[in-house]
């Protein structure tokens, strides 16, 4: 399958990428290409200009300082999964990155492309929301930072505008007593999330003092399970309290659950509490 013809431009620096993007209306940024190229081959996207940012050095690398992980937008899923710093400071992110698609997809696909594309079945948007990430963006008006809660605006729609480049993602490093995990029921062929759950808890003196639970695969944007979170705070995290919290997720999801040919909305909603329970149990077991 051939994409429509386009003009290919390769940016060497972030400044160059930004300038090219502003000079070429209708241009699309190309990172790992593992969402954009399939869309272009199906002609669901036909940009006239493609700006390859794949070799922009400023967008690479993972660093841990000042209590936060800073992750370049071009970091591949494989690099994330292999990073000891990510594994220690953001357990759920490490776990989720290691389960994106298959090894070849993880060798090319990037964290920046994953969140900028914002497929409802993608893993990383839910994880980064649960971990309270901040997204740093460069655009025509300069730089700005957006919290995860404001970043995902709708189905495949984010705070990254047409002329913007997502540069880095900042994730608060694991606090004392914190544990996080990601559990997913994956589509058997693509391995995208049919139901994915990211959970992060902080346990202090045997009691849960903070909890975040965010689901993907069910709704157009990552769904926060507020009643489930509230049910955990103030409790000791036992099989029973976790199961009780997981049972509340239906209320949080409401009637906006999406279904498709593989799994109906009813089925996804029925499966969700099981994966909430698994994710919270794993997060609780890692809290230290």
């Amino acid at each position: 399958m051939y994409a429509s013809n386009f003009n290919y431009l390769r940016a060497g620096t972030l400044a160059e990428a930004s300038a090219l993007l502003q000079k070429n209306p209708g241009a699309k940024v190309l990172a790992g290409g593992h969402s954009l190229i399939p869309l272009m081959k199906l002609r669901l996207a036909s940009p006239t200009v493609v700006i390859d940012i794949g070799r922009v050095p400023e967008l690479r690398g993972i660093s841990l300082s000042g209590g936060a992980l800073t992750i370049g937008a071009l970091t591949t899923h494989a690099e994330l999964a292999a990073s000891a710093a990510v594994q220690d400071a953001a357990q759920a992110l490490s776990e989720a990155a290691g389960h994106v698609g298959d090894p070849a997809v993880r060798n090319r696909g990037t964290i920046g492309g994953n969140v900028a594309h914002a497929d409802p079945a993608s893993d990383l948007p839910a994880v980064l929301t649960a971990l309270g990430a901040t997204f740093h963006i460069t655009g025509p008006g300069g730089r700005r930072s957006v919290q995860a809660s404001d970043f995902f605006k709708g189905m495949m729609n984010t705070a990254v505008g047409e002329h913007d480049i997502l540069t880095t993602i900042e994730v608060p490093a694991r606090a004392a007593g914190q544990g996080s995990a990601y559990a997913k029921f994956e589509h058997p062929a693509s391995r995208y999330a049919v139901v994915g759950v990211a959970a992060c808890v902080i346990v202090n003196g045997g009691t849960c003092v903070a909890a975040s639970i965010v689901l993907c695969g069910l709704t157009s944007t990552p769904a926060r399970a507020k009643s489930g979170e509230q049910a955990l705070v103030g409790q000791a995290l036992t099989r029973e309290t976790i199961a009780a919290a997981a049972g509340k997720v239906g209320t949080d999801l409401g009637s906006d659950v999406l279904g498709d040919i593989f799994a109906s909305a009813e089925y996804r909603a029925a499966v969700a509490p099981v994966y909430v329970r698994r994710a919270v149990e794993a997060a609780a077991s890692r809290a230290r």
Binding site: M1, Y8, G54, D102, P103, A104
Partner: protein, 153 residues
Amino acid sequence: MSQVAIIVNGKARKADVEPRMLLVHVLREQFNLTGTHLGCDTSQCGACTVLVDGRSAKSCTIFAVQADGSEVTTIEGLATDGQLHPLQKGFWDAHGLQCGYCTPGMIMSAVTLLRDTPDPTEAQIREGIAGNLCRCTGYQHIVDAIQLAAGRR
């Protein structure tokens, strides 16, 4: 048209390509390296897997222009001095193929697996080839072949 320069199996190659040309087509049609197969053409089956700068990648999901300046290894680049690569030998000896359509992609994925995990468990092997579909074997002999190759290295 754009000119791309790619080191393919250790040899510097050049081609004039439309930007929309996929790496798999350049390898097969311009460089006549037809060992890399096109299966699904939708990023799912892994028949088109090659190494780009040493790591497995689906060549149906890369524009050739993105590989400009990179090193690409295909199944044709694995044997040295007429000696099969341990994985090729393993697939031969353990009957890791029937029709052979998936085989080049399976082997290129296994090359990356064994580089990262020299002594893989069965579960790690299955995860390593999770992006490669086989319509014939039922996978068991493929897993055996990779295990055999890992043990012989």
